[in-house]
């Protein structure tokens, strides 16, 4: 028997609707589980006191500090490098074999899984350059890992700046760099910021690359050569080794909340940019 196309149409519409909401539902369920299980154990004490007894007791302060140090330092290195690359690709060159090769490099770097960054960081920074498990090795590895995201989003943002603004700037006797600095970058700043925020989100949630480069010491890192533990690594160890499910859920909640709010902020900024230029 042939089913009428109209009926198929209605059926498809309903099932696609359900599919989409099912998928969003997964996100909602994940967040809900983490929230319900984690929120009873979160209080100020948990945030401002450092872990004791491998994290079975006490809070997660040293891992928050470890996360912030790692992320800020990586962003501090990767942003100029990434934005500089984007400026070079969009403003200083015409499409050529040379830019294609650089783009190929960026795309390839973006596709490399984090465990290979970990493997590389471990052999290069930790072992060959004798940094040991340290904040420095973690920062350098993370920098390389987030670089492609910053390059791509910055390039998009810079390309969205109208060409006419550049022409006007040149006609007013600005050099190329003055134009970039005074006209292009300020206009592209929100887009670049979005890319930076997404990278922050990625670095905060990363485990595989960091555990083999920064190590997992629970002590607060006080210098670049100290090992340290990020929240994500702490959560991994707590959950995997069954040290404390309560603290694991609480750490996961803080982790997920911070990443979600960073990402939501990034989308908010991006939307404002889109509405500004269209």
């Amino acid at each position: 028997m042939r089913i009428k196309p109209r009926i198929v149409d209605v059926f498809v519409r309903i099932s696609l609707n359900l599919q989409a909401f099912f998928t969003v539902g997964i996100l909602a369920v994940i967040v809900a589980i983490i929230f319900i299980k984690g929120s009873p154990y979160i209080n100020l004490e948990f945030i401002i006191s450092s872990p004791q007894d491998m994290g079975r007791h006490g809070g997660i302060f040293s891992t928050i500090v470890g996360t912030i140090l790692l992320v800020l330092l990586s962003i501090f290195l990767a942003t100029p490098l990434g934005v500089g690359t984007a400026i070079f690709l969009t403003e200083y060159t015409k499409e050529s074999v040379f830019t294609k090769v650089i783009r190929f490099g960026v795309e390839s770097l973006a596709g490399i899984p984090s465990i290979l960054f970990g493997l590389f960081g471990f052999i290069f920074f930790v072992t060959k350059l004798k940094m040991g498990w340290s904040l420095l090795a973690g920062v350098l590895t993370t920098t390389i890992m987030i670089l492609p995201t910053i390059i791509r989003t910055s390039e998009e943002a810079i390309k969205a700046v109208p060409r006419s603004l550049r022409i006007v700037s040149y006609s007013l006797s600005a050099t190329k760099w003055e134009t970039v600095k005074k006209v292009v970058l300020p206009s592209a700043a929100p887009g670049i910021l979005t890319g930076v925020m997404l990278s922050v989100g990625r670095a905060v949630g990363e485990t595989a690359a960091i555990i083999f480069t920064m190590g997992s010491s629970l002590r607060m890192p006080l210098s670049l050569m100290d090992s340290g533990r990020t929240m994500a690594v702490h959560f991994y160890i707590l959950a995997r080794e069954g040290i404390s499910m309560e603290n694991a859920y609480a750490t996961a909640l803080i982790l997920v909340l911070s990443i979600l709010s960073i990402n939501i902020l990034a989308y908010y900024i991006m939307n404002r940019v889109i509405s500004k230029f269209s």
Binding site: M54, G132, W133, K181, P186, S216, S217, L222, S223, G242
Partner: protein, 270 residues
């Protein structure tokens, strides 16, 4: 833009200087750091020891990391750490390091508390892990596949287990692998059909330790050498340790240190 960059830079400087201010005040008291790395089995106990140690010696920071016995031995050779931790005997080529025996650890064969089996002969355990016995029925329980869990290649615990339990037989490659005592224990605690092996010190009410050939894994039986699945926990140093490092080693070997280890289920050397 440049203002923003400057602001970020400024906040960095503030952050770093606030760290170094902390350091300065501590330098006044001559702060020393001891870095310890190695076996994941030894680590939790040394972490505990260091917490007690630092209460009495606030001017010494003890930094304990895991990474595995082999990594600890390597790092000790490279002098990147002060003390290496190992849960296996040194190999021939590693003998240049100085060994300090801090305690003994029994390896307990554990199952889920619901599992009615209490005692197994060593040969049966070997048969489970070599894949010859695959079903709990063969051991007199229900008809259900055994979910056996071993440790990963290179682990000190696995090395000791292979030597003391498996003898010359190989561990079957269909058996699940986890990379720490904690994760093996987690699986055994949640899967009623699982069997694994972990440090005696970590056994609690969430898992059930089996007696081997009628002998329970406990401190008396280890001290009297009746329980055979035992391995040493070692500290390793490269050359003569610095003064503050020696202070920590002395603490671990003191009565106070050994009591802490005993309370954690390990067997002291004093």
């Amino acid at each position: 833009m440049s203002k923003a960059a400057f602001f970020i830079f400024l906040s960095f400087v503030t952050l770093l200087s606030s760290c170094s201010i902390n350091d300065n005040s501590e330098i006044a008291k001559k702060k020393h750091t001891i870095t310890i790395a190695g076996s994941t089995s030894v680590m939790p106990f040394v972490e505990k020891l260091s917490e007690h140690f630092m209460v009495d010696n606030p001017n010494i920071i003890v930094n304990v990391q895991s990474g595995g016995s082999t990594a600890g031995i390597q790092a000790c050779f490279n002098k990147t750490i002060d003390i290496g931790m190992s849960s296996r005997e040194l190999k021939e080529e590693e003998r240049a390091l100085k060994e300090i025996l801090i305690c003994y650890d029994g390896i307990s064969i554990v199952v889920h508390p619901k599992n009615p089996i209490k005692d197994l002969p060593l040969t049966k355990i070997r048969a489970i892990f070599s894949g010859k016995i695959k079903n709990w029925k063969e051991l007199g329980w229900i008809d259900r596949k055994i979910d056996a869990i071993t440790r990963e290649e290179g682990s000190g615990t696995r090395g000791a287990f292979e030597e003391l339990v498996m003898k010359n037989e190989e561990i079957d490659d269909a058996i699940m692998v986890q990379d720490s005592n904690g994760s093996v224990k987690e699986i055994v605690a949640t899967d009623p059909y699982a069997i694994g092996y972990i440090s005696l010190g970590l056994v609690d009410e969430r898992v059930k330790g089996l007696a081997i050939d009628g002998i329970h894994a406990n401190i008396q039986n280890i001290t009297s050498r009746r329980y055979k699945i035992v391995r040493p926990f070692l500290f390793l140093t490269n050359g003569a340790p610095k003064e503050h490092v020696q202070t920590f080693i002395d603490f671990v070997l003191s009565k106070q240190g050994q009591d802490i280890l005993r309370k954690e289920g390990l067997v002291g050397v004093r």
